[in-house]
Amino acid sequence: MADVMGKRILVIDDASLIRLYYRQALESAGFHVDEALNGLEAIEKLLLEPVDLVIVDVNMPRMDGMTFLKTLRRQGSPIAAIPALVTSTEAAPQDLDAARAAGANFYLVKPLAQDVLVQYARLMCAVSA
């Protein structure tokens, strides 16, 4: 667990049970987890404290996931470069392209299995296996 010590993840999803599910998996793996319900809240939290990874859903109120990503990528350093894992109920190729264009690093269909989530988190936080 020592290798993930101090790695911080922000989970951004409107659904509280999804956030709880991801939190449990990630905390068990040793990550520090914070949550946001929408893209705007997420930007504010990131301005106060950057993280090593954001996991963001496409469908959220106030500011959807794609808009959030574009806003994030326009911010200054260091938050603009935070790796982003996008989740969605959609799986069509154009959604994947849209996500990539918005600045996503990975795009996965939800809900994620907990072990897949942890695997991606370790990868994207550049944690050695």
Partner: protein, 285 residues
């Protein structure tokens, strides 16, 4: 996870409470505020005769006898005093006004709005703070307006008499310079200051009323949007946006976030505060 002693809540319960309050009011409670939140909740549980988190939470969610407002009241602490939330005043002189004056502007008057102003502590605090802490204060005309929906508090604000508690954060030196003691327990703001702030009624949800106040460089709108329902809150935020000059700033209460209320504003982080900004003039892009 088991609940703590009576009044304590477990992780899951605390998170659910925070989420409900955020969705309903836009208030954000961080882990740092946890003890404070638990204490306030314990007070409300006692007041409502709720013997468990589950029963209190059900009551809160259904807004039984206006419990949401009662809960919010417990946090906004109706008592107001001078130099409350000093970090925002610090941000005003250190970050917001310097940015304002860096932009070329025909009109040299800087306009600041305190709404709701209640009995006047906030607009008068802004005035005193700027006179005392902003090096450029003499180079500009500064117009400060205070507005509230409640006309009785406006009358009190114009009178400008305050008790000991309202002045508790001010140094003896500031009290001496800006107030005249009228009796054992009361101090009156000096005429110069009292007469330089305009007070007016306003309903934030009515655009015709807000428009009449003109456009501002900075608006302080603390601890009122949380009381509105979703639709009214969004409308009030839009009215406030309209009352900002391009590039102007709005400050909310320290537990409030625009993120639940409206996406119109850009969020800015300065060392002392998070504030929101109306973007500069835009073209389609």
């Amino acid at each position: 996870m088991p609940a703590d002693e009576a009044g304590g809540v477990n992780e899951d319960e605390f998170r659910r409470l925070c989420e409900f309050i955020y969705r309903r009011t836009g208030m954000v409670f961080t882990e740092a505020k946890r003890y404070y939140v638990e204490r306030r909740m314990a007070d409300r549980m006692l007041a409502t005769g709720s013997t468990s988190f589950a029963s209190y939470f059900a009551r809160l969610r259904s807004d039984v006898r206006g419990e949401v407002e009662q809960f919010i009241n417990a946090f906004t602490v109706n008592e107001t005093y001078f130099y409350r939330e000093e970090h925002q005043l610090q941000c005003l002189s250190a970050d917001l006004l310097p940015r304002r004056i860096a932009r070329p502007r025909a009109n040299k008057t800087i306009r600041i709005w305190s709404v709701p102003c209640s009995t006047g502590e906030e607009p008068y605090s802004i005035a005193i703070w700027l006179l005392e802490n902003w090096p450029q204060v003499d180079a500009y005309e500064i117009e400060i307006l205070g507005s509230d929906i409640d006309t009785r508090v406006l009358d009190a604000a114009r009178t400008g008499v305050f008790g000991r508690r309202a002045l508790m954060r001010l140094s003896a030196d500031l009290v001496t310079r800006y107030f005249e003691q009228t009796d054992d327990e009361n101090w009156r703001l000096i005429d110069d200051l009292r007469q330089s702030i305009s007070f007016s009624p306003v309903n934030l949800v009515e655009a015709a009323e807000t428009r009449a106040h003109g456009a501002f460089d900075v608006i302080f709108c603390r601890n009122v949007l949380i009381y509105f329902d979703d639709a009214s809150r969004r409308t009030a935020a839009e009215n406030l946006y309209e009352n900002l000059l391009p590039g102007g700033f709005i400050c909310l209460g320290h537990s409030e976030s625009m993120s639940r209320i409206s996406p119109l504003f850009d969020v800015c982080r300065y060392s002392d505060a998070i504030v929101y900004q109306r973007p500069m003039e835009r073209a389609d892009g």
